[in-house]
Amino acid sequence: MRVEFRLPSLGADMESATLTEWLKQPGEPIHRGEAIATVETTKGLIDLEAYEDGTISEFVAAPGARLMVGAVMAHLELEGAARAPELSAQPPSAPAPPLEAPPPAAAAVTAPEAARVRLSPAARRRAHELGIAPETLAHAAAPGAIVHLQDIESLAAARPAAPGEARAAMRQAIGAAMARAKREIPHYYLGHTLDFGPARAWLAQHNAQLAVGERLIEAVLILKAVALAAARLEGFNGYWRDGRFERSAAVHVGAAIAVRGGGLVAPALLDAHAKDLAALMREFSALVTRARAGHLRSGEFTSATITVTSLGADGVDVLYPIINPPQVAIIGAGAIRDAPWVIEGRMEVRPLITLALAADHRVTDGRLGGRFLRSIAALLADPQSL
């Protein structure tokens, strides 16, 4: 059974690899699981394994050739019936079509035309967005077939089951956004510690009168305080776009929510500045539930004008956040911890919280940033004002 040995996709972000070395020669027996070639990828050198027993009939690609995922590297003669290889990008259709005379190995500098998967532009972009290597589509194996947008959507819909993959894609997305933030945004950082006692006391009193489902949590007070301060002080609420700051009148506070098992999303609480605490709590509660169930709405993903992030009760004292572009500011809330605090010349143990601001220096300076943090602190010191 003669089959094509193709460059497999070794990760969602892999597009190509360079053939470094053939570890076997034509005619030499190969065994399932045995390394037959080495390729260099962005992740380093990787050995490619045979997925069946057999022999290499002939090489198509020569060492040094840069190959696209799915490119034919060699022709193999396999023992036994053809089975769709699990790892290989494109299972050959059976019976194998008559092969043209392969080009001499030395001439195979790039992927042969036959190996190129044809995607519509829209399909290619969608696949990129979803972190799918389109070459892995079985559909693409049909000779001459074109992968359309619908094929990518179907594929995406059919495979949400692999949590590892989803997590990897999310990690990739977080990485891309944060790399962009660190590359493009001149961050400055400010920290401010305040006594959370008044807020906590007010909360206890407020919650005592309410059924469990209606109670507020501390995070909501912080979200509201940030929203109010952001609405009052210009320069922290909006987007940096096309080389300038676009102020937003409404404050949509992105709430960074940890997804169990790793990862982070920061969907928006719309018009947080204009909502009372009870309404904000209801929405926040629903948002967390949906975020963890993976049912966020697309608008919630893109509309936040400023973000608040926290590591929760188990967190550390200070969290230095990274701005989520195109936003221009983010507040990191540290864990509330009991610590000594000076009140009117006396030391007292108080619940303290440190808020850290990361803001975009293209829009504001530290002086204004300081005012922003202090106005959040003032609001939390007077919880009635929320």
Partner: protein
């Protein structure tokens, strides 16, 4: 109410809040927070679910009793028998 029945019910509530939890992997004595990244919102959701499912008033000061499966089961049992 039998404590095993309470445990089963609590487990179901827990699964509603965190569907990704595998029931057989839960360590009954260990805090939810350490086992599956429970945060204050999860704790509140769990308290609300327990309150509704068993018809209990749960003031904030009792929250610490609800941090593990075993703790929650004992809390519910004691409150149910106190009310009976």
């Amino acid at each position: 109410m039998d404590i095993n029945a309470i445990r089963t019910r609590l487990l179901a509530l827990l699964r509603q809040i965190a569907p990704d939890i595998e029931p057989q992997s839960i360590e009954p004595q260990r805090a939810f927070r350490d086992q599956f990244d429970f945060d204050s919102m999860d704790a509140l959701h769990f308290a609300a679910a327990v309150s509704e499912a068993f018809g209990l008033e749960i003031p904030e000061r009792d929250y610490p009793s609800l941090t593990s499966l075993e703790g929650a089961a004992r809390f519910v049992q004691s409150r149910l028998s106190a009310g009976a």
